[in-house]
């Protein structure tokens, strides 16, 4: 029997890994947040791409993030742009900077007090409709 929850889960806008981003999502699924580091100039980045945006070299390696991060900014959605999220309002979306440098879009979870910019965060990988996501919680 299909429940309402199943229908909502069916609508989850799951990531669509491609050849470039598949290692990122596979690692997250295994419990590790990874980023790319250029083997020529050591620049580190996310989201996954084929060339270093700093020196344009094609060679890079995947490294595992320590999970230490800080909060750059955040917003709280009160409008649902997608059926899956329309039933989850309000929810936050944040820009997070890893200690290693790369920034990513994320959610802050397990908040006891309010958020403030530059507050320290720690990686908290959670599953949403079965998909591992790199969320963060205050330290």
């Amino acid at each position: 029997m299909t429940t309402t929850e199943d229908m909502l889960d069916a609508a989850f806008p799951a990531p669509q890994p491609n050849e470039t981003s598949a290692p990122y999502w596979r690692a997250l699924d295994e419990g590790r947040l990874v980023f790319q580091r250029c083997t020529a100039c050591a620049h580190a980045w996310l989201p996954p791409r084929d060339e270093c945006p700093h020196c344009l070299a094609r060679e890079s390696e995947w490294q595992t993030a320590s999970g230490s991060a800080k909060l750059i900014s955040w917003v709280v959605f009160h409008h649902g742009y997608h059926p899956y999220f329309a039933t989850r309002l309000p929810y936050n979306v944040a820009v997070v900077e890893l200690a290693e440098g790369p920034r990513l879009i994320s959610n802050v979870v397990d908040m006891e007090d309010g958020l403030r910019i530059d507050m320290p965060l720690q990686l908290a990988i959670q599953r949403e409709s079965g998909v591992a996501l790199a969320r963060f919680k205050p330290v």
Binding site: F12, V75, H79, Y81, P90, V95, I105, N107, I117
Partner: protein, 376 residues
């Protein structure tokens, strides 16, 4: 190039809901009106430059439009820079005329996201949609939050921007939204994406606008007596997504504005009236800082206390901008700048001799600046 090139004609359609009209049809109406305003024949035009519509993006749109208006221009095509493209195309047209690539240029833009698709404004941002990251307002909200937290910018200060612009729009019979706004009303406006309220967000509109450029000499020879000189222009392209930018409170509008001011030989204190791209209130605040009207981080206090209203130190968006006249991205601001410099705007700023216009697109991914002078 100072004052060698002029805007010799402007035209527009009605703004709001225009069902049953293609963007080609809307473009043609705006161009027809601009030609009539300049008093020139279509066949005098030898450059046709257009910003592609967001509601139905397509390849070779500039050529489709050229066929529909019956022109085979020397210079023509579409340029995608989001909302910065209008002013960037005006700058490009000015350079093309200056270097004798063409004589008379039509720059136009039409869109119909209100009756057509508004997907461009509400779309998922790639795989980040898994985190609930959707739509254009959220990106600007992300910039606004950082500005508020870092500098103490308040919701009321953003509200003062909305109040000024909405009240200007209320005086414009052609405006799509003619509902004045008080700060008290603003405070009860519902959140869209906190910290942005509904009244911080621009309209979604159908409509079109067009401008005609030529050399000042050509305008004189044609007997055009309301030509408005282009004093300066510039661009700056942050380009990267919000999450990838260094300082979220700074934008390449600094570069764009500085380029335009240098070309014009002017400084912010020389500007009498401004038409600042107001897709969201925070955009106005950050652009005014970037242009040097207020120090970095001090845009909040600068925008409060009526400074941006008619009668204030720097009246902005005197026909209602994107928040009130039409959400059409950008060209309506150039039209109002031209009216102010002709001296025949509805809310005319007395003795205004200079007007700055900002256009920008994406989530501050692109920026372009134009400075106009009083009619010659």
């Amino acid at each position: 190039m100072r004052a060698n090139i002029v805007i010799a004609g402007i035209g527009q359609t009605a703004f709001g809901k225009l069902p049953g009209r293609s963007t080609i049809s809307l473009n043609i109406e705006a161009c027809r009106n601009a030609l009539a305003d300049a008093g020139i024949e279509k066949n005098a035009v030898d450059a046709l430059l257009v910003k592609p519509p967001t509601s139905n993006p397509q390849f070779m749109y500039g050529q489709t439009l050229a066929e529909a208006v019956g022109l085979q221009p020397r210079v023509g095509g579409a340029w995608d820079q989001g909302g910065a493209a209008n002013v960037s195309l005006i700058g490009f047209a000015a350079m093309a005329i200056e270097h004798e690539q063409c004589d008379i240029a039509l720059v136009c833009y039409a869109d119909n996201p209100r009756t057509g698709s508004r997907h461009a404004y509400e779309k998922a941002w790639g795989d980040d949609a898994a985190y609930g990251w959707f739509g254009v307002p959220a990106g600007y909200a992300m910039l606004a939050r950082r500005h508020m937290e870092e500098f103490g910018t308040t919701s009321d200060q953003l509200g003062a921007i909305a109040v000024a612009i909405r009240n200007h729009g209320a005086a414009n019979p052609a405006a799509q939204l003619r509902k004045p706004l008080t700060l008290e009303q603003y405070r009860t406006s519902p959140w869209v994406v906190d910290p942005l309220r509904r009244d911080d967000c621009c309209l979604v509109s159908d409509g079109a606008a067009a401008v005609i450029l030529m050399s000042a000499e050509r305008a004189r020879s044609l007997g055009i007596d309301k030509a408005v000189p282009i004093l300066g222009f510039g661009q700056g392209q942050p380009s990267w997504d919000v999450a990838q930018r260094g300082d979220l409170t700074r934008t390449a509008a600094e570069v764009s504005g500085a380029t335009a001011f240098k070309m014009a030989g002017l400084r912010p204190e020389d500007i009498d009236v401004a038409q600042i791209y107001d897709c969201f209130t925070i955009t106005v605040l950050m652009t005014l800082e970037a242009y040097g009207f207020a120090p970095h981080g001090q845009g909040g206090p600068f925008c409060a206390d009526g400074r941006l209203e008619i009668g204030g130190e720097l009246p902005i968006n005197t026909a209602g901008g994107l928040l009130s006249e039409t959400g059409m991205p950008g060209l309506q601001l150039v039209l109002e700048a031209v009216r102010q410099m002709r001296g025949d705007a509805l809310l005319q700023v007395p003795n205004a001799e200079t007007c700055i216009v900002s256009n920008q697109g994406g989530i501050m991914h692109t920026h372009s600046t134009l400075i106009l002078g009083q009619r010659q």
